[in-house]
């Protein structure tokens, strides 16, 4: 019988009451007395020399407080990059300066050139229109392969070219991999594009800067997934403000999907301008600005090859990827196509030899960085499309070929540097086949054909890596940050708890699920536990939420801190019970002495901690508050098997997803309802990428898909009712909860299944197409059907 509270219960999301009743407190809800508003004048050309910015007329307009241009930020630091990749020659990547406001050149449509601070948003916008900008347009570089050709226009004149780095992984294995290809019985090759996406969280970015002249304290309110990281990046590297003089608050945040991890110019601007103008300064992004200033995702162009022996065993894999960085290096951009992508290329398979090459390229486009999945969707898509293609070339069943090559023994050290601790890929595939009613597919296909539609079935597996760690390893790989998490558990005198976590919830439901864990550990009601996050003044330290790390890393820190609380409370209880500590146990919210009926309630122990009249003061301090930092020993490795069934209208090319099945292994599960919701959301974004979403530039660097009129966001009606299962559970071996990440799996695992299903449908219509690029739009399908 399902539990109704604690770990394993589908407790209702307590935060939804305020979200659904309009009582949330988002950054745009924050208004400070006397605040002014900034409007950014953004470049409408992709590449050009910035000859002059004349603000004279604008400065004289009504309500204008101050106008800033690039020259005002010459003494200010560059927007920093948090990860330095070393290339295959042992050289560090090329790292350009990233100014707060453009200076000397503009490098992408949307780059801020000037900023007008005025009494009202309308006045700021009016004045921005009166700024005269003189730009000499330069040829833009948009296509990555063109960008790295000799003689291509340079995005950054002071760099040697547009190649950020040329990464080989594992470089020492390249010779052995190539040799294995020489000996292969069969080689399958696939060239594909992983389409550029715009994250489009429901809430656009907002930032409010405040400065207290009397104390010198700065406060930044911002739509961030990791306020402490912003405090460090902006404080230390851009504005030179020490942590103790800078508070960063990320209150309720309406979706992040990765694009709110990064430190952006607008945050630095409002903080800087608040002091310069002696007024709080607010910026609220419009949706149009979001399209051209939020970091984009994906954008890989890949060639991948698989070598098989005569028995269809995978013997080697090699890939060659161009990864778009955009015009500047966003916070974690260099890590995405390398350490979050190359390390996943083994997938679920025991391929013994793997070599990954990635060329990261600067172009005159918006910076590209992590988007839900970040590197793992790109790895999964190419690998699972390739395996499907190999199966068809060899005439074997795609599921059978996968099963034959599955990793089956754990722990498993891949040839791409990571060690999978647990997993059971056969179990998730078994579960998937049972859920998807593979046997009934032929009849469903007949029904579709009777309506003039083609029906296709596609599967894929995925493995992903969550909670990137440990810190000393990622430091060797180029991370300029640690990847631990912290939590402070404060027990109040009457027994209620406040957990201050460095994880940040922007839709994930931490306030509910984290409380379930602590309540279970102590044996008290969930309502006695409050979760606090998103404020550097309330939470001691935090690395934030991304990469499906919150429960595995942040939750583990919380468990460690709670364990310390329980240990101290036990000492107090044993004193109150006049019993030996080893005989005292905590159960259902009370300490009891084993083998007796002596017991003291949780609330009496906590009261004693704060009213220490009957208390071992000579042995332990009063009070009950503990902090723990948790640095994981390894990633967690969720995995699963997905299946998609599509109907295809051969006359229009329209594809509809009729059925979708997800069998995931997330290890232990705290709140099954929230996990299901996370998978649903991920699937929507994965299916969106596969069928609809596409961020497109023209050759001059104009963003063609710059609004919802041209960027196709999936809607509920575009998606099926999912069938989601997470009953296959191989607990993580190295974190105290045995949990793995679940936030990105849906987005990682679904695109290949969709495309594999579309190709299967096309084959059933007599059109054997070896590949079709995402998004598989009606137009593309029709063209492929008629090619």
């Amino acid at each position: 019988m399902p539990k109704d509270s604690g770990i394993g219960a589908s407790s209702k999301r307590r935060e939804d009451i305020r979200f659904l009743t309009g009582d949330g407190n988002y950054t745009d809800d924050i208004n400070i007395h006397g605040q002014a508003y900034v409007h950014f004048l953004r470049s409408d050309v992709a590449h050009g020399t910035l000859n002059s910015v004349n603000t004279d007329a604008a400065a004289a307009m009504d309500g204008v407080v101050k106008i800033f241009t690039g020259t005002d930020f010459e003494a200010v630091g560059s927007i920093p990059c948090g990860w330095q990749v070393t290339d295959k020659h042992g050289e560090v990547m090329q790292e350009p300066r990233h100014p707060v406001l453009a200076h000397g050149k503009v490098r992408h449509v949307g780059e801020p050139i000037a900023a007008v601070v005025a009494d009202t948003p309308e006045q700021a916008r009016d004045a921005a229109e009166a700024i005269e900008v003189d730009i000499s347009e330069l040829p833009a570089v948009i296509d990555m392969k063109e960008a790295v050709r000799d003689g291509a226009p340079k995005v950054h004149d002071d760099l040697t070219g547009n190649l950020c780095y040329d990464w080989g992984f594992v470089e020492e294995n390249k010779g052995a991999v190539d040799a294995a290809f020489e000996k292969a019985a069969h080689v399958t090759t696939l060239e594909l594009v992983n389409n550029r996406l715009v994250a489009n969280p429901m809430e656009p970015r907002v930032a409010v800067g405040d400065f207290a002249r009397s104390t010198g304290d700065y406060t930044l309110y911002t739509t961030s997934q990791n306020p402490h990281v912003i405090r460090l990046l902006m404080g230390a590297f851009v504005l030179g403000i020490p942590e103790h003089k800078l508070r960063v608050v990320a209150p309720d945040v309406g979706g992040g999907f990765g694009t709110k991890i990064f430190h952006y110019q607008e945050e630095a601007f409002v903080t800087f301008a608040a002091k310069a103008c002696n007024r709080p300064v607010k910026w609220t992004s419009s949706r149009s600005e979001a399209f051209m200033s939020d970091a984009h995702g994906r954008d890989h162009v890949t060639k991948i090859e698989l070598a098989l022996d005569a028995d269809n065993n995978f013997t080697a894999l090699r890939t060659d990827t161009y990864a778009n960085m955009g015009a500047y290096l966003s916070t974690f951009a260099p890590s995405v196509p390398t350490w979050l992508h190359g390390t996943l290329m083994a997938g679920n398979y025991k391929t013994p030899l793997i070599y990954v090459n990635v060329k990261a390229v600067f172009t005159n486009t918006v910076p590209v960085d992590a988007y839900r999945g970040a590197g793992r969707p790109e790895a999964t898509y190419q690998l699972e499309r390739l395996v499907d293609k190999a199966a068809h070339e060899l005439g074997v069943d795609p599921i059978k070929l996968r099963r034959q090559n599955f990793v089956t023994e754990f722990p498993y050290a891949t040839p791409v540097a990571v060690e999978y601790d647990t997993g059971d890929y056969i179990a998730t595939m078994d579960k998937l086949e049972e859920m998807a009613d593979v046997a009934g597919f032929a009849a469903r296909r007949q029904e579709s054909e009777a309506k003039g539609r083609l029906r296709g079935f596609g599967v894929n597996c995925y493995i992903e890596a969550c909670g990137i760690a440990p810190s000393n390893l990622v430091g060797q790989l180029g991370a300029r940050a640690g990847l631990y998490e912290s939590a402070t558990v404060r027990v109040n005198a009457t027994g209620g708890l406040v957990v201050m976590t460095g994880s940040h919830s922007h839709g994930q439901g931490h306030e509910t699920s984290f409380a379930q864990v602590v309540a279970e550990m102590i044996g008290i009601d969930e309502s006695m536990v409050e979760i606090v996050h998103g404020d550097t003044d309330r939470v001691p330290m935090g690395m934030g939420t991304y990469g499906s790390r919150s429960l595995a890393v942040g939750g583990s820190a919380m468990v460690r801190a709670t364990e310390k609380i329980i240990a101290k409370a036990r000492k107090i209880a044993s004193h109150l019970l006049e019993a030996s500590e080893t005989d005292v146990e905590l159960k259902d919210g009370a300490f009891t002495v084993a083998g007796t009926d002596k017991s003291v309630a949780w609330g009496d122990v906590t009261l004693a901690a704060y009213v220490p009249h009957n208390y071992p003061l000579e042995e332990i301090e009063p009070g009950l508050e503990e902090t723990a930092f948790y640095d994981p020993a390894n990633f967690t490795y969720p995995s699963g098997a997905y299946a998609c069934e599509v109907e295809l209208d051969p006359e229009t090319g329209q594809v509809t997803v009729e059925r979708f099945f997800a069998a995931d292994d997330f290890g232990n599960i705290v709140n099954p309802m929230i996990v299901t919701g996370q998978v649903h959301g991920g699937l929507a974004q994965g299916i969106g990428q596969a069928l609809m979403e596409n961020c497109t530039y023209d050759a001059d660097g104009q963003l063609l898909s710059a609004s919802y009129m041209d960027y196709a966001m999936p809607r509920a009606s575009d998606l099926p009712f999912y069938d989601v299962d997470h009953s296959c559970q191989t607990p993580c071996t190295h974190n105290p909860l045995g949990v793995k990440g679940c936030g990105e799996a849906g987005a990682i695992g679904s695109p290949p299944a969709v495309v594999n299903a579309v190709l299967d449908a096309m084959r059933s219509g007599g059109k054997d197409v070896s590949h079709i690029d995402m998004p598989v739009s009606p137009h593309r399908v029709w063209e492929a059907m008629n090619s």
Partner: protein, 264 residues
Amino acid sequence: MYNFDVERPKTVADAVNALATDEAQPMSGGQTLIPTLKARLAMPSVLVSLSGIDEMKGVRKGDDGRLCIGGGTTHATVAAEAAADFPGLAGLAARIGDPAVRNRGTIGGSVANNDPSACYPAAVLATGATVVTNNREIAADDYFQGMFATALEEGEIVTEVKFPIPQASHYEKHIQPASRFPLVAVFVAKFADGVRVAVTGASENGVFRWTEAEAALGGAFNSDTVKGLTVDAADMISDLHGSGAYRAHLVGVMTRRAVDAING
């Protein structure tokens, strides 16, 4: 938005007077105009709201049997109130945009704006409807003059559209995946004396009649009749969401499906 004044006349006559102001702009449901204003792509001095004019609202059956729809009537109202007399038109109205759009957007606004991807122009042209303004009546064949271009003069208001009711009709739409406007949509109207076919979304010249299909369907009203017919891909819009060739192909597909829907 830039600043503007708002007039809210109660009669067509007052609206016409208000529109005589320099840089005045009429607004019906505002489903196109408000986003345009928000993007600062228009700078009217006065916005003359037509939504308070009761005489421009409603669906009624005229003495001559035509279905007369006031220019200020919302899509939602047409979807509900035209369903009995003219289900083809009601079906079109019911599938425009989303509920918010259908409860604000009006037939008059749609026909006056003549967006090349709007739905209503297809029905107006395919039925040979009459566009009634504050000072004249204009036949559909004369009214639509290309993308966003109509026979309307400055300050002229679409007060009503009079639809001859076909024996049978159907509107078949293939949507552009982002905007959900028609990528190509076809309205087929079958009358006692012939068939009219109008295509929206597809052409560089806005809504148009596919006369070859009309002639063929006038002979034998079944989808096989039009199977071999094509429109010139060179005249079709080519953009992110579909080439001219794809749109030309869809014109045929949508037409055949509309005919099949009518024939059941």
